[in-house]
Symmetry: D3
C-alpha cells in the first residue's frame, strides 16, 4: 500500500473531501441510483425538434421519398432513449419499500408513449406559433427564418414537449429540458406553465415565466418580461408551501412589451396591452392599455 | 408488409403526423432544397474569428513563420464552405422559373469573395473596438482579455461579418450568424444594424439592437439596453410593412447606461449620455445628459 | 513560386491582411506565447464540478466502492491540465527579462495546489448554497433539482473556483471561467467579487456582479439585478484607475428582487430588502425595506 | 509580403516541393475533381452491413416494431451518400469534352439504385454463406458468432456489394471497398472476382483472389490461399494487357487448404480437394484430391 | 398513408427485403435481445491494456502520485462496462424458460470479478512474455519497444484476457476480443488455446493457433505459422463434433520458424525446433530439430 | 478513510497489482517521462501523406489556388507536433546525468527539420514507385488507383518517412510508424531497411522485410515474401548481438514471387527472378531465374 500513502501525501486534503461526501446531509449523491443525464436529454430534444420540424436542422435532406423512414426512425430512437432517462428519473425518486420498480418501468413507458402520441397535436400548435411570430415581427422575412433563427420559438417548442411530461409528473426531466432551452435562449419558462397556441416571444433574453402561469391564445411578449410570484406562502413550520397558484393568468390576445413585470396570481384579461417597463401587481380588465406614466426625464446640456 | 402493419400499430399517431407534414400550409419543409446548417455556420464563424484574431483561440501557435499558411488555409476553407452554405440559402429562396441556378452559384461566389475582401478593413475596425473596450472598462487588465473574454466583442465581431452578408442580401445566413452570437452572449443585434468603429458593449446580456439602428463612432452601451421600434406600420391589408427605418440613430460618442430603452426612429445626437433605466421615445440633442428623475424610493425599517 | 503568385491573385487582399497582423499596435498575437484555451478551461471546469458534486452529471455511477478512485483520478487530471493552462497564463504575462520561467512554473504549481486544497471547504460552502436555494424557491422539488438544473448554482460554483485563482493573481483564467458561466447562464459575476455562503440567485439571466462587490451570508437575488459601479475614477493622464473599490457591499440576509440596480461603493446593511426595479445609488440601513413608490400606471380601455 | 519571405526562409525546400506538384507527370492531383473519400466509403459500408444484418452491430435494438424505419432510413441515407461518392468517381474519370456531367449524375443514380435493388438477393446469398461457415467450422458455436466475429464473412459481404458496382463499371469505389475489407481482415479479393453462394473462408489472413477468378457454389478455402495469375500478357508496345482472364475457375464444392497456391486460368473442377501448401499451375478434374507428396523432413536429435 | 406509398414506390425491393428478415431461418436477429457491441469491447480492451501496462499508451502521465487512482478508476470503469456486455452475451444465449435472468446477471458479475482478480497474475505472466521477446529479437532495442510496438505482444495480452472469459464459458465475447486482435495484428488465436508464459510471436502476420492448442513455457514462433486441425470428426448425423482436442500440443522451449504448419492433435516435445516452411502431421520428440530437406531449386541464367 | 477501506474490500487484488507496478524489474513505466503516443503519430502520418499526395485523401479540394496554403499549413502543423513527439522519444532514452535536455530539444528540432527537408526528394521517389506499380499490375486501372487503394504503396510511403528518422537515430518513433503501416496493410518493413526507388509490393499481406535488408531499384515482390535473418549471433555472455547485417541484399530489377523466403546476408544480384514459394539461404547471380523443382503432387480420384 506504499502507492496509496505516497498519494495521500500529495493530496493531503483528500481525506477531508471524502468525509464530506460521506456525510449524510446535503448535496450527496453517492450510492444512489444514477440521475438522468443532461447530455442525453439534449440529444433527445434535438431528435424531437427534428420530428416537429423535419429538414430544418439542415443536417440532411428530408423528402417525400424518405419522410416516413426518417420520422419513424427518430420516433423509435426517442422512444427507446427517453424511456431510459424517464425510468432513471422515476427510480431515483421512488420509495423502494412500496415499489417493485416494475411499476417505475411501466410508468416510464406509458409517459413516453403519451408524449409521443401528442406530437401531431403539438406540431399543429407550433405551426400556429410560427405563423404568429411571422405576423408579429416586421424583421422576419419568412416562416423558415422563424423556425431556424428565433430563440423564442425554440424555447416554446421545448416547453410544449416538457410540459407534457410535467403533466405526467415525470420528475426532474421537464426542468432539465427547460433549462437546456434557458441556457440557449435566455428564456426561462417553468415546465408547469400552461401556454395556448399562437404565443410569440420576441428577442426573449431575460424572459421569466413562472410555474403556475396560464397564458391564452395569441399572446405576444418581448425581452425581459417577468411573469412572477409576489410572495411565497409558508406553512406553520415556516417552510414554503409548494404548488400553489402564485403567477399571473393572461387572457387571449394580450401583448406585453419589453421589461414589463407582472407579479402574483392576477388576471390580465383578453386583449390587454401592457407597456414596456410597466410594473404591475394587480389585474387588468379586457381591452385595456396599461402604461407607466412617462417617467420624467431631465435633459442637461453639458457642452 | 407485415412489418409495416405491426409498426403502424405501435405508433398509432404516425398517420396523423405524416398528414400534418403533407399539408401545404405553414412550417413544412419537405421536398424543398436543403437549408443552410447552423452547425456549419458555427464552424465557419470560428474560422473567421481565427482569421480576425489569429492565435487568440489558444488552439495552436501562430507565428511569423506560419502566419501566411495558417491564414491562407483558413481563408481557403472558409471560401469553400461558406460558398456552399450561401448557395443553399440563395437556392432555397430562388424562384426556379426565372433562375437557372447558375445565377445562384455566381451570386454565392461573388458574395463570399466580397465578404473576404472586407476582412482587412474589418480587422482594422475591430482593433479600434478592442482599444475602446480596454479604455472603457477599469476591470479589464489587458487588450488580450478583451479579445479572449468579452462577450460584447465576440457579438460585435460576428455582427461585423454578418452585416457584410446582409448588405449583399444573402438570405437567412446573416440572421443565423447573429443568433449564434445571441445564444452565446445574450446580445441580440439584428444583422441590418449599421455600427461604426469603437463600439463597446459591457456585460451585454439582454442588449437588443434592431434592424434599422444606426450607431456612430465610439459609442458605449451596457447590459439590458434596448434600441427598439415603437410601433409597426401596416399596409392596407393589415400586414406589417417590412424594411422601414423604425429604430434609433445614435451619433458619435454616445453612452447609454444599463437597462435604458430607446424606441423609434429618433436621433440621439453626438456625445449624448443616456442614464440607466431611462425610457425614451424622443430624440436627444448633442452633448446632453438624460436621466430619469430619481425615482422616489421608500425606506421602511422593519426590525 | 508560380503557385504562390496564382494564389495571391485569388486573395488579392491577403497582403493587406498580413500587414495588419504585422503592425505593432493593438490586438496582435503573433510570435507571442500561446494563450490558455477556452476549450481546455471548459473541460477542467466540468471535472472540477464533478469533484464538487460527484454523480450529478449522470455520466457515470459513483458509489462508495469507486468514490476514492473517481475523485482521485479527477483531481490528478485537473492538477495536470490546469497547471498547464495556468503556466501559459503566467508566461504570457511574464516579463522575460526578470523571470527565468522556472518561477512561472513554480507559481503555477503552487496556485493549482492551493485551489485544490480549498475544495473540501468550497464543497461545504456550496452545500449551504444548495440548501439556501431549496429553502428559497417554492418551485424546487428537491436539492438534486438545484444541483442539476439551477443556473444560479452553476454560476456560483464556477465563481467560487475562479475566485480562488483570482486571489492568487492568476492572469486571464479566472475571467475565462466566469465568462464560460456567463455564456451558459446569463449571469455575469466578476471573479473578484467576494461572496459568502448561502447565496441564491433565482432565474439569473441578466445578473451583473462587479469586481469589487462584497456579499454577506444568505443573500438572495433575482434575475436582472445589477451590482455595479457608478462612475470610474481617472488618473491625471485621463486613464481609468483600475482596482479601486467601486461596487456595493451587501450585509448578511439581504434580499434583492428582480431588475433592481445598485450602483457604487455603498453598503446595503444586514437584512435589508430591495424591491424589484429599485434604482439605488445610496446605502441602506439594516432591516430596511426599500421600494419604489408604485409607479403610476394609466389604464385606458380601448374597446 | 514580409511574412511570406520569412516563411519561405523557414521551409527552404518548399519551392522544390511546390514545383514537384506542378509537374505534369505522375501522381499529381491538383486542380482535378475531388476523389471519393475512403472515410465516406467506410461509413457507407457500415450502413450497408447493418441493412444486410440488422442488429448485429450491437449499436441499437432492431425489433419488428422499428424494423421498417431503421432499414428504410439506412437505405435512404446510403442512397444519398453513395450517389455523391459514385458521382465523384464518374466525374473524375469523365472526359469532359464528350460529357455534360448530367450523364455522370444519371449514371451514378442508376448505379446506386441497381445496387440497392440487389440487396434482397445478396442477403439471401449471404444467409447461405453464413450457414456454410457454421457447417464448416467445429470451433463456431452459433450462426451469430459467424456474423459477429468471422473476418471471412465480413470480407465476403463487402465483396458481394462491391462486385455489383464493379459490374456496373463504377470507377475506383469497388477497389476502395475491397481494400477496406483487406485492411480489416487480411483477405484481398479483387472486386472483379465472381463468387457463388455458400463460400467460406476460414481464418483468412493472406488470402488473395484475383480479378478474373470464378468460384462455384459451396467452396471452402483457408488462410494464405492464393488464386493468382501466372504471367502477364503484354501488347506489342510492351505494356500489360489489362482485363484478360488470367486467374483460376473453381467448380462447386471445391475445398482448398491453407497456403495452397493456384496460378493461371485453369479449372479446378467440381468437388476437387487441394491440400495445404500445394502449388498448382494446372487444372484438376472433378472429385480429385491433390496433395503434395509428403515433403521429406529430417529429424535430428541434438541433446 | 400517401407518404408511405410514395416511399414504397421508391424502394420497390423493400418488401422483399423485409420478408427476408421475417423468415425464421438463418441470420436473423430481429426481436432478439441485443448483442454485445464490438465497439464497446474495443474500448474495454483499451482500458484493460492500460491497466496491464500503465503509461504505455502515451495518452497520460502515470506516476506514483496518481497510480492508485488511475488504476482504480480504470478497474471500476471496466467492471461496470464489461459486466453490461457479458450480461448481454449470457442473456442472448439464455433459454428463457429455465432462467429468471437474475441468474444471468449473477453469472456476469461473477465472471467479470473473476477476470479482474486474475489481473495481477496475468501481468506477472506478461512481464515474462515481454522479457522473452526482448531476449529473442536482435532488432528490439528496449523492453518499452516490445510493449509499444510489437503486434505479437498485443495479440497475446488480449488472448490472456479473453482466455479467462473463455474458461468461464462467457459466450461470444472472448471470440470478439481475439478477432479485434486479429484485425489489428493479423494473428488469429482462438480464445480456447492454453498458452504458458514466455511466449513470443515475431512479426506475426498469418499466424493461426487453433482452439484446442496447448503451448508450454518459452515457446517462440514466427509469422505464418499454423497450429491447426487435420480433419474434423462428424457425428452419426454428419454434423461436426465440436469441442474435441484436435490441435497440437507444444512442450516448453519449442521454436517454430516462419510459415511452418503443424496439424492435428500431436505432441511437439520439449525443446524441439521446427524449421521454416516445414509441413508436419506427426509428433516430434524432445530436443529434435525438424527441417525440410532442402527443396531442390533450379538456377537458370537467362541473360 | 472509510471510503478507501470499503474500496479495497471490493478490489481485494488491488494491493497485489500495485506491488507489481512498484517492482523494479520488467515492463514498468511509472514515474518515467511520457512516451510518444501512437495516436499522435497516426495523425502526423496522415498529414505527411497528405503533403506527399495532396488531394488523394478526398477530404478536401486542393487546387492551384490554395495549394501553397494547404501544404504550408500541413508542414507547419507536422513540424510542431512531430517535434513534440520526437522530443519525448529522445528524453525517454536520455541519460539525465550527461544531458541538460536542451540537447534533446535541439536534436528533435534538427531531426524533424531534416525529415521535412527530404520531402521533395521523397515525393519524387514515390512518383517512381507509383509508376512502377501501375506498370507492374494489369489489374490497376490508373495511377490514382495505386495511390488511393494499394496497401503496398501506403506501407512504402510510411517506410520512406520513418527510414529518414531511423537514420537520424530517433528512438521508438520509426518503429511506431512502421507498425502503424503493418496493422493497416499486413506488410512488416523494419524502418532500418534501405529501399531504392521503383519498389512495388503487390497484395502485400504477410510480407516481412528485416532491419538490415538492402533493396535496389525497380524491385517487385508479392504477398508473403520474407526477407529475413538466418540465425542470430550471440556475444560471449550469450546475449544477442544487435545491429549486424543479417538480412538479404537485392540488386536492381529483382522480382520475388509470392511466399518466397530468402534468409541471411546473401546477395540476390541484378535482375534475378525468385519463383513463388522458393526457400533460399544462398546468393543468386545476376539475371538468373530460381524456381523450386515442381513439387510432385498426387492426384487421386475419389468418386
Amino acid at each position: 500500500m506504499k502507492s496509496l500513502l505516497k498519494t495521500i501525501d500529495t493530496f493531503s486534503f483528500l481525506d477531508d473531501l471524502l468525509e464530506g461526501y460521506e456525510a449524510s446531509s446535503g448535496a450527496n449523491f453517492i450510492d444512489e441510483r444514477r440521475l438522468p443525464s443532461v447530455n442525453s436529454i439534449k440529444k433527445i430534444l434535438e431528435d424531437l425538434l427534428e420530428i416537429l420540424f423535419p429538414g430544418f436542422s439542415g443536417t440532411r435532406d428530408v423528402t417525400s421519398n424518405n419522410l416516413i423512414f426518417v420520422i419513424g426512425d427518430l420516433l423509435s430512437t426517442v422512444r427507446s432513449e427517453l424511456t431510459t432517462q424517464v425510468t432513471m428519473a422515476y427510480k431515483h425518486k421512488c420509495d423502494e419499500r412500496t415499489c417493485s420498480h416494475t411499476l417505475c418501468d411501466d410508468k416510464s413507458s406509458s409517459a413516453v408513449d403519451t408524449l409521443l402520441s401528442q406530437l401531431p397535436k403539438l406540431r399543429e400548435i407550433l405551426k400556429i406559433d410560427v405563423a404568429a411570430a411571422y405576423a408579429g415581427d416586421p424583421a422576419a422575412s419568412s416562416e423558415e427564418e422563424i423556425v431556424v433563427c428565433y430563440p423564442g420559438l425554440k424555447a416554446l417548442a421545448i416547453h410544449r414537449l416538457s410540459h407534457e411530461l410535467f403533466k405526467l409528473e415525470v420528475p426532474l426531466i421537464p426542468r432539465m429540458m427547460n433549462e437546456i432551452a434557458h441556457t440557449e435562449t435566455g428564456i426561462d419558462i417553468h415546465p408547469g406553465a400552461e401556454i395556448a397556441e399562437g404565443f410569440f416571444i420576441d428577442h426573449g433574453t431575460g424572459v421569466v415565466i413562472g410555474e403556475t402561469t396560464v397564458i391564452g391564445k395569441n399572446v405576444k411578449i418581448y425581452q425581459g418580461v417577468t411573469l412572477g410570484a409576489l410572495s411565497f406562502a409558508k406553512d406553520e413550520r415556516g417552510d414554503l408551501v409548494r404548488g400553489q397558484k402564485r403567477h399571473p393568468t393572461l387572457g387571449d390576445d394580450v401583448t406585453i412589451y419589453a421589461h414589463a413585470t407582472i407579479l402574483g396570481d392576477v388576471v390580465i384579461d383578453k386583449g390587454a396591452v401592457i407597456g414596456g417597463n410597466v410594473w404591475l401587481k394587480q389585474g387588468v380588465e379586457a381591452h385595456t392599455v396599461v402604461t407607466s406614466e412617462d417617467r420624467p426625464v431631465n435633459f442637461k446640456r453639458f457642452k
